[in-house]
């Protein structure tokens, strides 16, 4: 069963093709990493899959369903979760507030008007559980902007996981992290169950080769290579693009 299938997907801005006729499929449970030089269109691709941008042409299928025209918030209900390249947590709100909002997003009581948000025990317990697992329960009343960058990143990914998504899109999860924080993230990803499909965009080669079952290389919006890590490592075209990059 394919978790995601992208067919002939393109996105044009004026005359520029940020994503150019991209097609690939991702199996449920697969760990796919997308790499490519800056400006290759990786974040744009994520924006298309997650719905922040409408496609110029092409189709997107999620768990067999055509979601090309479906708005972002509906895609969350279908099971997509995304961590952004620039941390998108609500910086002026506290850790616990962020967690409450994140975990309420796909629940029916998010529209409730009259009970305090803390009334919904199921979610409150889940928040407590999630924050404790992230080792952030002690800091729950802190404003997110006062956390360290590594904590923020961990929190954003951890909250995405708390939603129990079917597809997890991680956009440069290692950016700005120390080696130690990065390996923490790698472990987090490795411990995910096979019911979650993970697509990651990143530059850090430890993370890429530590996690990927399959790698797609993007360049100027087009797929240059698509294969196992070993295939990619020996691919001459990839080497050409990444001339000078250390292993």
């Amino acid at each position: 069963m394919e978790a995601l299938r992208v067919e002939g997907l393109s996105k044009n801005f004026g005359g520029v093709s940020a994503v150019d006729n991209v097609s690939f499929g991702v199996e449920v449970g697969e760990r796919l990493v997308i790499i490519g030089p800056n400006g290759a269109g990786k974040t744009t691709l994520f924006n298309l899959i997650n719905g922040q941008l409408p496609a110029t042409s092409g189709r997107i299928f999620f768990l067999g369903q055509d979601i090309t025209a479906i708005p972002t918030h509906r895609r969350a209900h279908l099971g997509q979760a995304r961590a952004f390249q620039i941390i998108s947590l609500l910086l002026n709100l506290s850790v616990v507030d962020n967690a409450l909002l994140a975990l309420h997003g796909t629940k029916p009581y998010r529209f409730k008007l009259f009970r305090p948000i803390t009334h919904y025990k199921l979610i409150s317990d889940k928040v407590q559980e999630t924050l404790k697992a992230l080792d952030l329960w002690g800091k729950r009343d802190e404003l997110v902007k006062n956390l360290s960058y590594g904590e923020q990143r961990r929190m954003e990914i951890g909250l995405s996981l708390g939603l129990q998504p079917k597809l997890l899109l991680l956009d440069e999860p290692s950016a700005g992290l120390t080696m130690e924080e990065c390996s923490g993230i790698i472990d987090m990803i490795k411990n995910l169950g096979l019911d979650i499909t993970v697509i990651i965009v990143d530059h850090d080669m430890d993370l890429v080769f530590g996690v990927a079952e399959r790698i797609i290389v993007l360049h100027y919006g087009q797929i240059i290579a698509d294969g196992t890590p070993e295939q990619i490592q020996t691919d001459p075209r990839v080497k050409e693009i990444y001339l000078g990059i250390e292993e």
Partner: protein, 336 residues
């Protein structure tokens, strides 16, 4: 509005009592004090409550959801006009008729205008709400059905009746009616702000893109917040229609729309009762100005507003709340 009444998951029980002490005290004062004051002061207090309600409802959209509306008088005035039209054309001054009709009309207009205004966001939203408010102003100016013949607006308004023989309202009893309505509304707003819906609004204000990817239909939230806030403006407008002897197009225009925004900012956008504090300040200063220099009141109002934005952006309310926090920490709260 997120830091004021933070209900985190484990909130120590004792501190709740202390946190709400000033509110209880305030209510007690509002209930008891006016009985001892002149009916003129009572009338001023009524005016204060009406505008406090207007500003509180406004702040659901403005402070909570971040929707900067400069046309909320459209819903306020609509409530007032409904009451006025009922009196002018149907001879009815019944509260049981005027209130629901007024609120309904205001909500309906907010529902229509909301769809148009929410086509854009941010500052453009401000412009559109402004233009729509002025549109309604023009309508009221030009449509003869909305005017007492020979003048602008509808005159001859009076306190509502209840259809109960021998029971007529006077200034004092009307004040208590307004107080009751206001307190009920404040309570409703309080529940809303702390509900999942209200918290989501704050989230949308802070990061709409993220909220969308979390599964929130942000447009719908903003729309509902806008319409609800219009409904509350309508309630205030209905009360105003009974309070004021006349309703005119001015009450639909930007001059009136500016007031709840001004009150919210001066009193504190981020605190729940900020708008009430702002309303108190503005009404009080207006009273003062009307005695000393009535022609310079707009200058004073504009000046206060500019000062608030430049130097006290969080509003007086936040300073008061912080002060109270320090006091209550000393004397009552149990830190969990």
């Amino acid at each position: 509005m997120e830091t004021a009444k933070q209900e985190t998951i484990t909130q120590p029980e004792g501190s709740q009592l202390v946190t709400f002490a000033p509110h209880v005290a305030g209510v007690v004062i509002l209930v008891i004090l006016p009985a001892f004051l002149s009916s003129y002061i009572q009338s001023v207090m009524t005016r204060f409550l009406i505008f406090a309600l207007f500003a509180m409802g406004y702040n659901l959209a403005f402070g909570c959801a971040g929707l900067i509306s400069l046309g909320h008088a459209a819903y306020f005035g609509a409530g007032g006009y409904a009451v006025a039209v009922l009196k002018l054309h149907y001879g009815s001054n019944l509260f049981w008729v005027g209130a629901p009709v007024g609120i309904l009309v205001a909500t309906l207009i907010a529902a229509i205008f909301g769809i148009i205004a929410l086509r854009v966001s941010g500052i453009y939203f401000l412009l559109v709400t402004f233009a729509l408010g002025q549109l309604l102003y023009s309508v009221a100016w030009n449509v003869s059905w909305l005017n007492t013949p020979g003048m602008q607006g509808i005159a001859g308004l009076s306190l509502p009746s209840f259809g109960i023989a021998g029971f007529t309202l006077n200034t004092t009893s009307f004040y208590y009616l307004v107080l009751l309505v206001s307190l009920i509304c404040f309570y409703l707003l309080f529940r809303m702000v702390n509900s999942p819906f209200g918290r989501a609004l704050v989230g949308i204000r802070e990061g709409e893109a993220r909220m969308r990817s979390l599964g929130y239909n942000t447009w719908l939230y903003k729309y509902i917040a806008f319409v609800i806030s219009g409904a509350f403006a309508g309630i205030a407008g209905v009360l105003f229609g009974y309070y004021n002897y006349l309703i005119s197009p001015t009450h639909l225009g930007v001059g009136t729309s500016f007031l709840p925004m001004c009150m919210a900012i001066i009193g504190g956008v981020g605190t729940f009762l900020g708008p009430v504090i702002g309303a108190a300040i503005i009404i009080f200063v207006e009273l003062f100005a009307s005695i000393m220099t009535p022609e310079r009141w707009p200058l004073i109002l504009g000046g206060l507003f500019v000062l608030a934005i430049m130097f006290a952006r969080e509003g007086i309310g936040v300073y008061l709340w912080r002060l109270w926090n320090k006091v209550s920490y000393h004397y009552g709260s149990i830190k969990g």
